[in-house]
């Protein structure tokens, strides 16, 4: 995918903060990225990186004490960052749908699957009852659930974890949204089931021509699924670019460190190259670059000036004063 296209989604300087007892948690603190129509983007980072909060912010699903402090979320030219709840409701599900991490808890236990699917269509389409049912059956079949007609009458607890995640995906796709945000959709699943679900998501989303933001901590899943990757650290974008390019030649030491931390069966090393130290307390980030304490290439400027995202190569940008050149290790 190229970036010349008019982006479907343009996020600029998004800040979502949580005002808690122990201080302000700046979970998302100046995140910007573009997403083209039909593009699949991986939003990657470790816990505390703020990746899930970005997803919730896009849909306006941040509850107090959280708040979108500033920034812009342009979806198809429309500003969502401070759109009225009424408008956001129309957009949720119809334009932007979401898939949650835990299929065991994201379906309502006391409603049948059919009713929960039907609700989506009732809210966002003009279809009559019969047509809605027809569409639900088709959708369930296309996510690989056999005997869809009768399964509509089942309750969520009658499905296994993998099957429930299929149902969740089916619900997300029902109203043919243009953007899907999937928050760790396979983290709770076993590897063989994960493979099934990822294959299914790829197929169905391509078929509908929708864009996808895949929020995950798993670089291997990203490598297999996405066109473009955006890496978050402490609430900021540290690197973004086409997935192959970033994984093969990361420009930010954090990206490099993440990649090196994963044992690669193809090149087994006696010791893994690890990132030293731990993620700093996000409530009290030091001045300058948030990664500098763990970075071997840090210099004086890193503790003074926070680096901004600078374009490096074709579509690839990194926020680092001393970006790595191709092949260099951190």
């Amino acid at each position: 995918m190229t970036t010349e296209m008019q982006p479907l989604l343009r996020v600029r300087e998004l800040r979502t903060w949580f005002h808690t007892f122990s201080g302000i948690v700046k979970a998302v603190n100046g995140v910007s990225f573009d997403l083209a129509a039909g593009e699949v983007m991986g939003l990657v980072g470790e816990s505390g990186g703020g990746k899930s909060v970005v997803g919730y912010s896009l849909l306006g699903l941040i509850d107090p004490p959280g708040k979108i402090e500033s920034g812009s979320i342009l979806f198809d030219g429309e500003e969502l960052a401070n759109a009225p709840e009424r408008r956001l409701r129309e957009i949720r599900g119809r334009e932007i749908a979401m898939i949650f991490q835990d299929p065991m808890t994201s379906l309502n236990p006391v409603h049948t699957v059919g009713r929960q699917m039907d609700e989506m269509l009732r809210l966002h389409t003009e279809l009559d009852k019969k047509a809605r049912r027809q569409r639900c059956v088709e959708m369930l079949e296309s996510v690989g659930i056999a005997r869809a007609e009768e399964r509509l009458e089942s309750y969520p607890h009658q499905f296994s974890g993998g099957m429930r995640q299929r149902v969740v995906i089916a619900i997300a796709l029902l109203a043919k949204p243009r953007l899907i945000i999937a928050d760790e959709p396979t983290t709770a699943l076993d590897v063989t089931i994960q493979a099934q679900i990822l294959r299914l998501m790829r197929r169905e989303i391509r078929q509908q021509g929708a864009s996808l933001i895949l929020v995950t901590h798993d670089l291997a899943v990203v490598a297999e699924m996405v066109d473009k990757i955006t890496v978050l650290y402490c609430g900021r974008v540290v690197e973004t670019g086409p997935v192959r390019q970033v994984l093969e030649a990361p420009a930010h030491p954090y990206t490099r460190g993440l990649i090196d931390s994963i044992p690669d069966p193809a090149h087994r090393l006696p010791r893994l190259r690890q990132i030293p130290g731990t993620v700093p307390d996000i409530r009290a980030l030091p001045k300058g670059c948030a990664f500098r304490a763990r970075c071997s290439g840090a210099a004086a400027i890193c503790s003074e000036v926070e680096p901004s995202l600078v374009a490096r190569a074709e579509g690839q940008s990194a926020a680092c004063h001393f970006p790595l050149v191709s092949g260099e290790t951190a």
Partner: protein, 338 residues
Amino acid sequence: MTAMLEVQDLRQEFRLNPGLLDRISMKGGRLHLQDRIVSAVSGVSFSIAKREVLALVGESGCGKSTVAKAIARIYRPTAGNIRLDGQDIASLSQAELLPYRSKMQMIFQDPFASLDPRQKVRDIVAEPLRAQSGLASGEVAERVAALLAKVGLNTEHAGRYPHQFSGGQRQRIGIARALSVNPGLIIADEPVSALDVSVQAQILNLMMDLRDEFGLAYLFISHDLSVVHHIADRIGVMYLGFLVETAPRDRLFAMPRHPYTRALLSAAPSINPTRSRPEIELQGEVPSALALPSGCCFRTRCPYAWDRCAQERPALRDMGDGQSVACHLTDEPQRDMP
């Protein structure tokens, strides 16, 4: 050479034991008392040499953690032998076990649940020492300080509570606790799966360093094939309570024989998707351990299964080069065509 650990035909069943009244059910018009028994582990055998790392991999519910906890004698095994340094500990009472505890310690999965939130680090680390040796408190304190240094923490951490540490640091505390009595074998139950990747690498490196320094053997439980490939000398693959294949690491990755092993390898996403591999897509999901399938446990999802698989349970057979497989395909290789 005696193995550090030798497990023979280990079985672990759990009785889902609701009250007497809840077990009454109707069958054929008569009242009937039923026993619901889960076979979590159904006859697993393997051994671990001194300084060897054996990894057990499999998906959730395959029994790999149960094997670990049965060997650590958190559970009382239903049947089988567990020989630790030559001595069978499978049926010893908790009191009789005490002298053997110092040969075998355990590291747990969840860095938040595995440390008592109301104990200080120094008491957590010293717990096995105090229970198993008659060391004076001065010696205990010295040893705790030394252990903390070994795992990359410092002495001032000893007076803190677990919640003041990050997940990776907590896992280090758990490792120090396991090391405190100088065990020869450490059972590690998914020690890195709750950690972020960057921290995961730190812990894996630490575990490897400690093995070199103290000559430890590990029984390493994991669902993550890339982690297992990094740390293990030998790998066992489990499915639904059965060991379906064991082999030395490189052999298993290069020449997996059991269809489940192959499926597992092909399903694992890789950061290098360029490498080509045969895709085996598994259909369906793992059956319930309450009602194991007849014959081969994997046949309900196996793309190759034929009628023999439903009738006869395949036994683990030595295929040479340290590889053993439990699959009827080894008798009829002509069926092994994609």
